[in-house]
């Protein structure tokens, strides 16, 4: 073998050997002719990733449920508003249950709720002094939830879960609109969520 011939050989070998550490187990399985194993592993990775994103959403729902409890316990909400707040809290509980079921179906472990006191401290509810304050606070959380759900949609490998996130965003959007109207605020401009 002359020098000119050896270079391509060394080069190819070097490329292959150098590339091995960078290859994922899935890629190695594909190169080894085990596409079914690779597909299964990739699916498992996607499921774990989707469950992780859903757990973030679940943590958000836990916070929302507790925020409405704190609002209801504040004695700042009058009867008609309190009834609506409890309805919204029930919606968040339904979201929580859907998310827990989806996480478990993916083989994940649902994140647990914190104590009411921890939520009260993190959300600084001690600053709320009137019904309008509580409504404004709830409106901010609902707007944040809409944006969060819209923001995580592209993260899902499973398009069914992306649809679920869209459904949850639609519910939160409904809550947000009701709260804006209760506060006498203008309706949102078109395409104002997720930006």
């Amino acid at each position: 073998m002359n020098k000119q011939q050896s270079f391509p050989f060394i080069s190819r070998r070097g490329v292959v050997l150098g590339a091995v550490p960078a290859l994922s187990a899935t890629a190695v399985a594909l190169l080894a002719g085990r596409p079914a194993w690779a597909a299964k592993r990739e699916t498992s990775h996607d499921a774990a990733r989707d469950a992780s994103v859903l757990n973030t959403a679940l943590a958000l729902e836990h916070e929302g449920i507790n925020a409405y409890t704190l609002g209801a316990q504040s004695n700042l909400l009058q009867k008609p508003v309190l009834t609506v707040a409890i309805k919204f809290q029930d919606d968040h509980k339904a979201h929580r249950d859907r998310l827990i079921a989806a996480i478990r179906r993916l083989g994940g472990t649902p994140v647990e709720e914190k104590s009411l006191g921890e939520y009260a401290q993190a959300l600084e509810v001690g600053k709320l002094k009137s019904q309008a304050d509580v409504l404004d606070f709830a409106m901010g959380l609902e707007r944040g939830a809409v944006n969060a759900y819209l923001g995580i949609i592209p993260s899902f490998a499973d398009r069914g879960l992306a649809k679920l996130a869209g459904q949850l965003a639609a519910d939160e959007s409904g809550h947000f609109i009701v709260l804006t109207q209760a506060l006498g605020r203008p309706l949102p401009a078109p395409m104002s969520f997720g930006v």
């Binding site: 973030t56 943590a59 959300l123 944006n147 993260s155």
Partner: protein, 128 residues
């Protein structure tokens, strides 16, 4: 003339500009715009002073990852040695999972200018 100059200096002082690098392009961030973006995009899960769904952000710029006491970080972040600079925050916000695989944030900010604005806010005195 003098008052115009003062206004200009005041405007410069009021707005911290920071640049982030995206390939060969350099994007300047506007902290005032970043504050508004932070409030609309990030506060569902984060706040400056309290850990919620995600960790508190005050002082994040310039420190190592996973340093907020009491927050339950992912193993991926606990093992990371990344320091939050303009460049690392830009990569994180663009695609957290690509930057630190195994982390938990499912949210990203695709627009480079918006990322630069948010980073400028996080680096500003208001968030330090």
């Amino acid at each position: 003339m003098k008052s115009g100059l003062s206004r200009s200096v005041g405007a410069l002082c009021a707005t911290l500009f920071i640049t982030t690098v995206h390939g060969t392009a350099v994007v300047a961030g506007d902290s005032a715009r970043g504050k508004a973006l932070y409030e609309s995009r990030c506060t569902a899960c984060h706040s400056l002073d309290h850990s919620r769904i995600g960790p508190a952000h005050r002082g994040v710029f310039g420190r190592h990852v996973a340093q907020v006491g009491g927050f339950d970080y992912s193993l991926a972040l606990k093992r990371s040695s990344v320091i939050w600079t303009a460049q690392s925050l830009d990569r994180w916000l663009a695609n957290p999972e690509a930057f630190i695989p195994g982390q938990r944030m499912g949210y990203s900010v695709p627009d480079p200018k918006e990322r630069a604005d948010i980073i400028a806010f996080l680096a500003s005195p208001a968030a330090r």
